[in-house]
């Protein structure tokens, strides 16, 4: 407080302007220093890291061919390169949509109108009303808010959370956090395909003290579709709100029909990173676990990431016209992997639902006996093929994937292959060309040849 009070020796001097009256012009030494600082910030620390990245052509062409700069990218379930529509929208919005959407002057009103249009667009594509939708900074933040906000609002009803044993780690973490002061998390078992036991799920809802339930639309590691609509009906009958984590299916499959809260992540459908989706049905009790803020409709504190939200919405809308054909096309690529990998590699366990109707269209997981998953990932990377793995040695915790363990699947030598809009048969050809040699080399190294 003292430092804000003008010092007596400065008060009398007419030459000393009050800070808010001081004009900033080119001659102002402060401005020069600020400009220098800006040059430093933008030219040094920013451009240097950017220069480390693979140089893509405009759009996502970098993932297209094995000889392209990004090689054979087969990890679309982790993240997708920017959809060309998202890129065009993002660039335009960075220039035109920078104004504060909470301000009442024309620039602000136009920014607000663009934001509301994007919200309408996303809402209509997930079967929601615009005022039910908000945009946290990630799918993880959206899932955290969905669970914690519902748990906070329903404390008097109960503190327990019912979910499947194969939820994304961010949902499991949020459930653990929501029950840290009492209440327990009921993890419902899954079958060998990774599908939750619906009767056990329903029975758990009927127990007293359940605050909320959570179920993913499709599993992120093995692609198995969960019975979310049936779970939604069971939740409605039990009077328990259901959160659906739709991160793997939004933009790929029809949105789930029955949910009370829904979360998703734009970078998985080709939107920019930094945009999650949180939808809370009107009438569902929800209290913000964070301090109140006038922005974000009272659900997501802080300044809206307007350019990224516009780009995310534009990409989701663009996918609406292509996703049904894409699902058929990607299912065919997955079927090739499921059929042809065991022909080329012995000792392979295909994980997940063998029936394509029971899976998300874009991903397939298998495990190779006697091979460390991390080493297999590195071998494939050297050959220019990017995949992910649920094996323990590839996770920081050094524990095997809780999904594979819950399914009773082989957890070592695990590879997840996932496809997207740039993927073609040539990508499958490339995988099949390098995988048998990589597995054979690693089995030799482990002394496991011929086992």
């Amino acid at each position: 407080m003292l430092s804000q009070r003008p010092r007596p020796d400065l008060l009398g001097g007419a030459a000393v302007a009050r800070p808010d009256e001081r004009r900033i012009d080119a001659a102002d030494p402060d401005r020069t220093r600020w400009a220098d600082a800006r040059e430093t910030v933008w030219n040094e620390p920013v451009t240097k890291p950017v220069a480390q990245l693979p140089q893509h052509a405009a759009g996502s062409a970098g993932t297209r061919s094995p000889s392209g700069p990004a090689g054979t990218y087969l990890d679309w379930a982790s993240t997708a390169p920017l959809h060309p529509v998202a890129r065009a929208t993002l660039v335009a919005a960075l220039d035109a949509g920078w104004a504060d959407p909470a301000r009442l002057y024309g620039l602000g009103r136009r920014a607000r109108a663009a934001f509301e249009a994007a919200r309408e667009q996303v809402a209509s594509l997930i079967g929601a009303r615009a005022d039910e939708v908000s945009f946290p900074a990630s799918g993880t933040a959206a899932a955290h808010l969905a669970l914690l906000g519902t748990a906070a609002a329903r404390q008097r009803v109960g503190r327990d959370v019912v979910l499947s044993a194969v939820e994304h780690s961010c949902v499991l973490a949020a459930a653990g956090y929501a029950t840290r002061d009492g209440g327990s998390v009921h993890e419902i078992e899954v079958d060998r395909a990774g599908r939750v036991d619906l009767s056990a799920f329903t029975a758990a809802l009927a127990q007293p003290g359940v605050a909320l339930a959570s179920l993913q639309s499709a599993n992120h590691e093995v692609g198995t579709l969960q019975p979310v609509d049936a779970a939604g009906a069971a939740c409605a009958a039990a009077g328990v709100p259901l959160h659906v984590d739709a991160a793997q299916t939004l933009g790929r499959l029809d949105p789930p029909a029955r949910w009370d809260l829904l979360s998703a992540s734009a970078h998985k459908w080709g939107g920019p990173p930094g945009v999650g989706v949180l939808a809370v049905r009107t009438g569902v009790r929800w209290h913000s676990p964070a301090p109140e803020d006038e922005r974000g409709g009272g659900r997501v504190p802080g300044y809206e990431n307007l350019p990224a939200v516009l780009a995310a919405a534009a990409a989701l809308a663009a996918l609406e016209g292509e996703r049904r054909d894409e699902a058929v096309r990607l299912t065919a690529l997955v079927e090739r992997v499921r059929a042809e990998v065991p022909q080329h590699v012995t000792g392979v366990q295909m994980v997940g639902d063998p029936d394509p109707a029971g899976r998300a269209p874009h991903l397939v997981t298998f495990s190779c006996l006697y091979v460390p998953g991390e080493a297999l990932l590195a071998e494939l990377d050297r050959a220019g093929v990017s995949v992910s793995s649920g094996s323990s040695c590839t996770s920081s915790a050094l524990t095997p994937s809780h999904v594979l363990v819950a399914m009773g699947a082989l957890s070592h030598g695990n590879i997840r292959v996932s496809f997207g809009r740039d993927s073609t048969d040539a990508d499958v050809d490339r995988l099949l060309a390098v995988l048998p040699g990589a597995v054979a080399r690693l089995r030799d190294e482990q002394g496991a040849r011929g086992l």
């Binding site: 366990q349 006996l369 006697y370 095997p400 957890s411 070592h412 002394g447």
Partner: protein, 86 residues
Amino acid sequence: MERRVRERSVAVSGELPALRLDYRGQRCPLPIIGLARRIGDVPAGAVLELLADDPAARSDVPAWCDMCGHDYLGEPRPGTFWLRRR
């Protein structure tokens, strides 16, 4: 239902393992590789005991038995796995 199989009590009362393999301190897949190498050392129908403390073993031993056609009998003590060669 894999989990049900895993929870089944070890139905080998009175029967002693013909071979014990100790892979404590080794990371998967090494215990599974050792198991695959040594399973032929016991006659068909014999019981084999495997000691492993890598958390992946709890999932991988039954999964391996399933893939290779051996009977997984259970985990009588944490980190001790029994199986029967087919």
